[in-house]
Structure formats: C-alpha cells, structure tokens
C-alpha cells in the first residue's frame, strides 16, 4: 500500500463487503413485466436483450449454413436452385458478421460485464445504450424486409458493379446494415466514456481487467471505422437509386474504389470481432489457472497495437484485384506485422497456465479450444499474407476455412467461453458441467471435420461461392457437410442445458470460480445497481497471491458515497488514491 502524502492523496475509509450468497432482490426481479424490459436502462438487462437477439440470429445464420452444406453434398443441383443458393450464402455471411459477430462480445457480453468490472452502477449514457439496442432492432427489421422482398445475392461484401446491377433487393439490405452501424458506433462511444470516467476509486489504468482493455481497443475501432462503412453503403445507394457514377464503370466510376472503401471498414471490423474475444480469454485463463496473468502490459498494449495496425492492412483483401505491386508489398508487410502482437498474446496465455492451478471447467476447455483453433487461423493467415501464395489461394475455400478458423474457432469459442464463464453472474444459476464438456468436445470435433477439409480443397483450387463444383472435390465437401451436422448437434446440446439451467439450475453463489475479478465480488445475479456499496480497488484483478478479503473492499458507511471522507467507525482497511 502506498504511503500517504498529505498534499495530493485522499484517504478513504474502507471496509469489507461480503456479497450476499443468495440475494432475494436482484436486477432480474427488481422490476417486472415486458414493459420494464423494453424500457430498461439497466446495462445488464440490455446486455441480455442483445444476447437473446444475437442467439436468434446465430440460430438463423446457422440453419442457413446447414442448408448450404446440404446443397453441397453433390456437385450439381441437390435440392435448391443456384439463385437461392447465392442468396443463402449472402445472408449467412451478412447475418453472421453484422448481426452476430460484431455485436456478440461487445454489445451482449460487454454491456453486461463492463460496468461490473469497473465497479460502476451503469454505463456512462444508459439511455443512449437502450437507443443503441433499438437501432440494432431497426436495422434487423430492414434486413428482414430485404430478405422477404427479393433477397440479396451479392455476397456479404456487396462488390460493385455486380451489386449495382443485380435485380435483388440490395438497397433495403444496405440500409439495414447502414442503420446497424450507428448502434455499433454509439456502443463504442458509450464504452470509451464509461472506461474513462466511471472507474471505481482505486481502479487505475494499470489495474484494469484485460477484458476492459480489449473492449476499449474495440470501441476505438468501432467509432473510427464504422462511419466509413456507412459512407460506402450510402455511396452505393446513391449509385443504385440516383444513378450517380461512383463505382460503376458504365457511369464513369471505379469498381475497385468500392473494394478499398469496403475493406477499409471490413478489415478493422475483423478486429472488432476478435479483439473482445482476446479479453474474454485473458479473464478465463487467469481465473481457471488461479494465477496472475503473464505479461499484463504486453496483452493490454498488443490489443491497442492490433487496433492501430489493423487499420493499415485492408489492401491484403485485394492482392489480385489490380493494385500496384508497391501497394501489394506494403500491405503484405503490414499484414505480417499485425500477426506479431497476436502471436505474443498466445504465448502470454500459455505462460499464464504455466505453474498455475488449472481447473478444467467448461469455460477453460473452450479457452483451450480457442488457443488451438485460433493458432491454426493465425498460421493460415500468414499463408494468405504471403503474396505469391495468396495469388493461388485467394477466393478459394482456403480463405473460407481460414476465416472460419479465426471467426468461429476464435471468436465463437471465446464467446462460448465467456457465456459459460459469466452465466452464473447473469442468472445466478449453474448449468450442467457434464453436458457442457460433452458439447465442447462435439463442437471441437465437428468444427475440425467441417473446416479442415476446406483447407485442402482450397489449396487444390476449389473456388468459394460455388453452387456447382467439379467431381474431384466431392469427398471433401461430403466430409465437411457431415462435420457441419456434428457441429449443429453440439450447439443444440448447449441450447438444451442452458434452458434447463434457467429453469432448474442449481444456485451458483456469488463467486463459483473463486475469481479475484471485481464482477465476482457482488451477488449473483447482480443487484439492480451492481454493488450495494462503492467498491474500492487496491489490487490488480489477477493478484491471486493476495487474500480474497482485499478484493471485497468498499467505502465504509458512505451510503453510496454521500458521506465520503467522514471518519466513522473502526478502521478495517485503508486504501489510498491519488486525487
């Protein structure tokens, strides 16, 4: 503990607040009825509403994926037409990316957990937070209208001039995604302000949970990159609706310009999707290894480095599109640079496990699956960053497999780790650990069965977005399809035991994992305003060598801070904070 210096150190009287192990009142029952949910400004409830929405979209996108895989069982037509197939792969991509991956960890898990980890009562702008959710809903509605009024068959990338010429309902779809972008921007702004202004007393930047650092990096990308997507979609709309030539060569435009605009958002967007996953993994690995995180600053700063360099690598999606060789060289070089901080994280997590006390509970299993699959995703990214090899692999199934390893093997596994980790805090209930492990195993097997063969057929030349294919690829496609069914079964099991947990789960208690992190030092489910006291932080979130009592401190007799500075009662602990 720091020594006191009268001039700029403020002394706080603190005492230990043990969380209530089975609270009667909490945020779930503080208010009742549908209306209380629809008008709530509680970040925890908004987080759950996002969670329900993205779960629905994940189900929808997942069913579409199974339809695609089923069609691909045979080289020619199996049961749907080419046009339907093209619409389905477009929807699968657009829904999974814009409606599931982008909001999954930041908007759903992040909303729930960020203020809890900061010891705040809520985010900085609770009403704006609710508005973000409704903007997300509005965007979804427009997208659904697009699906039911002609669909879209451009691929989730909306490349011009095809997207300017196709007869499908591109306008409605881009409008939906345009609206959705504002939800993302507002959530980002909200998080940045919350992290800067709402940290509990003592929670200095070097004590921030790594999950917060990850969400901070993500929010910066969201705020800076999403407007570019909005502008791009607006230009596309102007061209389609008003005939203003921007991307269409018939009108004097340049189709490659569209690709630059699109990837200038969409590459950083990849990091919007994966960086929050890094945060979750850091929390999970340290909690279940019950050990100080290795290389705190390396992990925290590498997230920021990825966020920054991530803005400068968009051109690696366009190595075959006709950029100059110089541009290709620069983008290839920067792409390799962004790989380094990612690799550093992997090694840091491994080093955290070293000499830990590792408890293989389901969140930890998912974190280990993440490490394995994401490493493969990373290595295959190096392959695609190598110019000569990318010329061969670009737009083949190799790319499809690569981003599924990163996005699904990385992000979705991190998301599942996060859901299993914070589930007790959300609902105060435990799920069946046995079934959770079974599901994790099935998903691991199903995932690799689905996507490993795609690396091979991609290397052999199988192009992506193909409805028909030549016979030589059939065994790979069939294997991949069977794998996708196994994967589907895994997710159904998760849905089943999660629902069972909601209805009949055992009470979890405030801190089932024995974590030192702040969100576990309040009751489960959390109280309406997160903490019954104002938490005071004197240790880092991963200081497992310090006693639990030091992590449960709050301002003594402060009545939520109204009597701050008064010296009443016995001094139990003393914390000092720079004013």
């Amino acid at each position: 503990m720091a020594t006191t210096d009268a001039s700029n150190i403020k002394r706080l009287q603190v005492e230990r607040f043990k969380p209530d192990e089975s609270p009667k009142e909490h945020y779930l029952n503080a208010e009742k009825g549908l209306w209380s949910w629809l008008t709530t400004v509680d970040h925890k409830r908004i987080g759950l509403m996002y969670l329900a929405s993205i779960a629905l979209f994940f189900l929808f996108g997942g069913i579409l994926a199974l339809v695609l895989r089923t069609e691909l069982l045979t080289p020619a037509r199996n049961f749907i037409d080419a046009d339907v197939y093209n619409q389905i792969f477009t929807l699968h991509g657009a829904i999974m990316i814009f409606f599931f991956l982008v909001p999954s960890v930041p908007a759903a898990l992040g909303n729930f957990i960020l203020p809890l980890q900061l010891g705040a009562k809520d985010v900085a702008f609770p009403r704006l937070n609710l508005a973000s959710f409704y903007i997300y809903t509005l965007g979804s509605i427009f997208t659904l209208i697009a699906i039911f009024t002609g669909g879209v068959d451009t691929g989730w990338t909306f490349y011009t001039p095809y997207s300017a010429e196709t007869s499908t309902n591109v306008l409605m779809m881009t409008l939906g995604i345009f609206i959705l972008g504002f939800s993302s921007i507002l959530t980002g702004v909200n998080f940045i302000v919350t992290i800067h202004k709402m940290r509990a007393p003592g929670l200095t930047w070097n004590k921030l949970p790594l999950n917060i650092w990850a969400l901070y990096a993500t929010s910066i990308i969201q705020v800076l990159a999403t407007p570019v997507l909005a502008i791009t979609l607006l230009l596309l709309t102007m061209e389609r609706a008003l005939g203003i030539g921007i991307f269409d060569p018939n009108l004097g435009g340049d189709p490659v310009l569209y690709q630059h605009f699109f990837w200038f958002y969409s590459h950083p967007a990849v990091y919007i999707m994966i960086v929050p996953g890094f945060g979750v993994i850091s929390e999970v690995i340290s909690t279940f290894s019950r050990k100080t995180i290795f290389g705190y600053w390396a992990i925290a700063l590498s997230s920021l480095a990825i966020a920054f360099i991530g803005f400068l690598v968009w051109g690696h999606h366009m190595f075959t599109a006709g950029q100059s060789s110089l541009a290709n060289m620069v983008f290839s070089f920067l792409t390799f640079l962004v790989g380094i901080p990612t690799g550093i994280k992997i090694f840091n997590w491994l080093a955290t496990m070293y000499k830990g006390s590792i408890d293989l509970k389901s969140p930890m299993l998912y974190a280990m699956v993440f490490l394995f699959l994401f490493t493969i995703g990373g290595f295959t990214g190096i392959m695609l960053g190598a110019l000569a090899v990318d010329i061969h692999l670009h737009d083949t199934y190799y790319v499809v497999a690569h981003f599924h390893y990163v996005m699904m093997g990385g992000m979705v596994m991190a998301f599942l780790a996060g859901i299993h980790y914070w589930w007790p805090k959300m609902f105060g209930k435990m799920y069946s650990e046995f079934w959770a492990k079974i599901a994790c195993g099935i998903i691991f097997i199903g995932f690799n069965m689905t996507f490993l063969p795609q690396f091979i057929m991609g290397s052999q030349g199988m192009p992506r977005r193909y409805y028909n294919y030549i016979d030589q690829f059939q065994p790979f496609h069939q294997f991949s399809t069977i794998g996708s069914y196994v994967l589907g079964v895994g997710f159904l099991i998760i849905a089943a035991y999660m629902i069972h947990s909601l209805l009949r789960g055992k009470e979890a208690g405030s801190n089932p994992w024995g974590s030192r992190a702040l969100e576990w030092q309040t009751s489960s489910p959390a109280p309406h305003h997160n903490f019954e006291h104002t938490p005071v932080i004197i240790n880092g979130p991963y200081d497992y060598h310090k006693p639990m009592s030091e992590f449960q401190l709050g301002i003594a007799h402060s009545h939520n801070g109204h009597h701050e500075g008064e010296h009443v009662g016995a001094e139990t602990e003393t914390a000092s904070e720079k004013a």
Binding site: G322, N328, Y354, I358, T380, I382, A386, V389, I391
Partner: protein
Amino acid sequence: MNRLIEYMLPPARNSAAGETDALFAFINITSFILLAGITFAILYFAWKYRRKSDNDVTPVITHNSKLEITWSVIPLILVMIVFGWGFTGYMNLSTPPDDAYEIRVVGKSWLWEFHYENGTTSVNEMNVPVNRPVKLVMSSDDVIHSFFVPDFRVKRDVLPNRYSSLWFEASEVGESIIFCTEYCGTQHSNMDAVVNIMPQDEFDEWLEAGDTIDEDMPPAERGEALVTQNGCTACHSADGSDGVGPSFAGLWESERNFSDSESTTADENYIRESILEPNAKIVEGYDGVMPSYQGVVDDQQIDDIIEYLKTLD
C-alpha cells in the same frame, strides 16, 4: 510431410509454380512444428498443473523480458522471411518476359472468350503452346470476374473498366481447368473453361486452321459446332431440359411469350435479334442475363446457327 503437401496442391504446370509451392511447403511445415509445440504445451500444462486442491498457491510471475523478447523476435524473423519470399515470388508472377505470346481474354457473364493474334477466336477453351511464356491481356464486358488456373498458380481479377494481365509458361502438355473466382451471379460456378497445353507445332496448326469449324461442313453441322464453341450450351440445352435460358429444342417457329406479355413467332429475325441484342425480348420465366454476341459471330455464322436450330424439333 512432402507427400501431404503434394497431395494438397494441384499438379504444377507453370514454370513459376515451383517457387509458390516451395513457400507453401515452408509455411506449412514451420506452422505445423509451432502448432505442435503450442498444442503440446497446452495439454501438458493442463495435465501437469491441474488443480490438486482448492488451496493451491500459484507463483507470481508477472513477466519475463528475455522470454518475451525471444517469442516476439523469432516469429518476427520468420514472418519477414515469408514476406520477402512471397514478394519475390509475386514479382516474378507479375512480370512477363518481353517475348511472351499474347492472348486477349474477355470475361462476360458467364463465359470466357479468347482472341488470338490472327483473329481466331475461341470460347471457353484456350489453346496455348507448351514451354513458351504466354501473356493474357484481360478485360470484362460486365461485372468483375477473376481468371484462375489452379495448375498454373495464377489468378487475376478481370475488370470492366481496365485491362489486367497475367502470364505463365506451361511446362507440360495436358489439359487444365480455368475457374472464375470472383462471384458474378447465377452461373458463377459454371463459368469455367479449359486450357489445352499443346506442342508449338500443333498450336500453330490449330491457329492456322482458324478453328475446328470447316468451311465444307453442311451449314447445320457448322451451326452445331458454333453453338458449342461459343458456349451457348452452358445455358441453352438441345434436348428440352431447362437451363438458365430457354432450351433450343422445339424453338424454331414456335410461339414465344415474353415477360412484357407480347409474343412473336421464332423466325430468322427473332433469332438474329436474340443473338445480337439478347435483352430486347425476354422469354417469360427467364432473366435478361445473356451477353450480346455482337462482333463475336458474323452474319454467315448466324445463318449457320439458324440452320442448326431448324433441325431441333
């Protein structure tokens, strides 16, 4: 390992393919070694340091500068090797020799056209001489396509507003497939073609003959050959089965109903218009997606095609 790498790649038929394949193998092998190490560490730690009791005390290890510098610098060196290697390979792939034989390639939804120096044209079939650098100068008539020959390890987007090019030197006689790898609509996955790699003298002979279509053939037979050569059969069947476009079977002198509720009889003028301005009249139930063949087929050839259609009842 070598076997596996060979299995993963299609046959290499381009003189420059070797360098790409070597880099592919290098990255795969290095990645595999590192992945095996990381996986072993995950599993070993999970077993060795499994929780023994709830009171386990773990050491405080916050960082280790030497270790961290090591695991940053070694990967950095490795990726810089990969970067340099990939870039030199790329420069080689994108710099055709001065004496390369030029073929003009036009991509349109959904076929490939090849134009040779002497005016010979072929559709969905490209003939090239073996052991001679060939440079393709490519453009698109409509949306973006991408020209990909897996056996050559080359790929390049084909754009509507500019020329793009690639080159290769086929190293063995044989047949390789061409794919379109930029999504371009309904028939994207059927937009494939064939490269016939042939000895120089055979190629010259083929080029001299113009194409396989013989002036002495009866018009209807010539028409049939033209329909195949121009890729019409990709969308229009000759046996009445449904495709992207209406079947040719029973077309001649039938009553055609159009999507604007007009109708007409399929006579010479209708067929001529359908070839040169395909979107002027769209048969009910189909989309106006056919590219124009203006400048691809001449009047004599249209006559031949009409003669051929007359034979399909």
